[in-house]
Symmetry: C2
């Protein structure tokens, strides 16, 4: 009997009632029963995205939705600005280049965010820009970007703002319509607490205008076709029905908690995690711009093989956390705290970390990180 804990920034743990829903017999997708389910889900997704725009459901993971946006909105030679604060920002650059866009890229070092001033300078220097592509939360380094300001700037300059909210939407408030986010994307295995396999994308009227003039080839990812199908409570191609059945359950759980408490809980768990990490004198990435989704931490110099932290937590204690990706492999680890996640998941992560750090040669007085986290929870309760 080895109990396991999934504390990675995707996939996140799937609630038991959602898992159980996958064991239900399948319903056929071209039936009134499915259309009714789809309609309910569609309407709940608008609340999840805080938008009146249609939220389209694709049978792909989040990268598929990113591809869909680039292949449906642009033409070869279009100039776009990508904000690269880590691996997923870099992915925007790669996708835009794959579709032969002329990419202007702002790159910062790991753990730094990109300031609105940097974006403003790039926008002013490039009058032919059509769009700004960025992450609301850069999962690879645990930093947030100034979404609201980026979208305001984009609107002022007639640019389309394209926000990868894959580990942001449903983690903290990103009001698509109120902030003028033109395109917003998310995936199923994040705040929606589902297995991977669905992605979601919503477009503003301004974004649809760009779509009309696009000349990039595409077939499976056809947002116009999806929009038309969605109006009839269908998808363009066969939908991933079982995941959509589960989605309906997830959205019910989210709405039962309420969005205010959902965001407050994520913020509380994030604060507690950061307090725990700080209490044991580890250095976090993104000190002035930490993401409520995931806390990224530098491996202390006392531990030579940084990958051992993740490996030992997994193999000895059954706790799955994320390591660093690409250039950050072995240099950082990441603790996730959103989705189906409670105070005691944070306690579990920090306890496991205290054990493993001591084992690997970084001395920690037991209870220090956990104690600091509990103090945050206590304050949140008694205040």
């Amino acid at each position: 009997m080895k109990k396991t804990y999934l504390l990675t920034p995707g996939p996140t743990p799937v609630p038991e009632v959602v898992l159980a829903s996958f064991a239900r017999p399948l319903i056929h997708h071209r039936t009134p029963e499915f259309q009714k389910l789809f309609e309910e889900v569609k309407s709940a997704l608008k609340r999840f995205f805080q938008t009146e725009n249609d939220v389209m459901i694709l049978a792909s993971t989040g990268t598929g939705a990113m591809d869909a946006v680039v292949s449906n909105l642009f033409s070869p030679g279009d100039t776009v600005l990508t904000l690269n604060a880590g691996k997923f920002g870099e992915r925007w650059t790669e996708i835009c280049r794959a579709y032969q866009a002329n990419v202007i890229e702002i790159v910062v070092k790991p753990g730094d965010t990109i300031s609105i001033e940097q974006v403003r300078i790039a926008v002013k220097a490039n009058p032919t820009l059509k769009a700004i592509l960025f992450q609301a939360s850069e999962t690879s380094t645990g930093v947030v970007l100034p979404t609201r300001e980026i979208c305001e700037l984009a609107r002022t300059h007639g640019l389309v703002s394209i926000c990868d909210a894959i580990t942001a939407c449903g983690v903290f408030s990103l009001p698509m319509d109120a902030w003028g986010i033109d395109v917003m994307i998310t995936g199923s295995q994040k705040a929606l607490m589902l297995p991977p396999g669905l992605s979601f994308v919503a477009l503003s009227e301004r974004a649809w205008k760009l779509e009309e003039s696009s000349r990039n080839p595409h077939f499976y990812f056809d947002l116009r076709k999806e929009k038309n199908a969605s109006a009839k409570n269908q998808t363009a191609w066969t939908p991933a029905t079982s995941l959509i059945q589960g989605l309906s359950e997830s959205l019910k759980l989210i709405e039962a908690e309420g969005y205010e408490e959902l965001y407050a809980r994520h913020e509380r768990l994030a604060r507690a995690t950061r307090a725990g990490v700080d209490a044991i004198k580890l250095k976090r990435l993104g000190l002035d711009c930490p993401s409520p989704a995931v806390t990224a931490v530098w491996v202390p110099k006392e531990i030579v093989d940084g990958k051992k932290i993740v490996k030992t937590l997994r193999d000895r204690y059954g706790i799955a956390i994320a390591g660093g990706q690409n250039g950050l492999e072995g240099k950082i680890f990441r603790l996730s705290h959103f989705g189906y996640c409670s105070e005691f998941d944070v306690v579990t992560a920090l306890s496991g970390l205290e054990l493993v750090l001591n084992e690997l040669g970084y001395s920690v007085k037991f209870g220090t990180a956990v104690g600091a986290a509990l103090e945050v929870f206590h304050q949140a309760t008694v205040v």
Copy 2:
């Protein structure tokens, strides 16, 4: 308590043990545990495809795999031959045109197959052809195409043969390597008895050669990247893990039955369905080339509103069968008999049909279709 029956050519019913497997907690995809599962599945998929080529797993439905093949193998201006015996043949044409191929298309009327002679004439008339794209089984009309002969012809002329085996692979024997099928595709919600959301594609060495020279843009669907990831028991992007866990269960069920019996069962169920339909004097599509996957039947002239057959079966009896698509809407209906399907599913479909035909004004002596099907099962048992 309304019991329901899913007898459509996709999604097909998911076995209870597979459904139950979806209720298991998720495992993270970048772990040795997932890699072990992936390796087992990969090896079983090679047997399912009857190939030594890698079978890549994409997080998309079947149309995504079709898109992947066209966007990864061709360049704008390439000349290709598509065989259009129905809606899915037409889809090859649409995808190739979306990627600016020069498409030569053979179109036949609904229910007709495409003869190897027709293909030979087209191949000889078009010396710049690079590939032939076709369906092994055209789901929209229930006909099979001469896969083996098409692939032989392709090889003789140095063309790449691209076989959509979405309702064929695992229904009847399609030995990829032995027949020289260069590209073969399938989807999860067909003979693999899973919900929709995964697609599968394998490429021969000849097909990989074509991929090397392709200039079509693509990102999410990147077969080379998938092949490289697969060698490390991973996928290029986040895999649809829960569906892959279910896939492992499905493949175990298939291998426990054995491929010989699997194909024999499908053939037996198809013969019984055809005998039942013939016994009540309905006309089938594809008389000389019926698919073991699905039997398509013309709505008799006595029934003015053909869509009522599908609707009444569903609403009154809980039996989901497929109607006609596009131009065939209301004109045909389709009975599926593959995947998690037994003698008594055929009996259920034919019984429901006898009831509904009588209700809608086409007189049938009760027991006629069912009796003819049982006679086939009896013969198959005693012989």
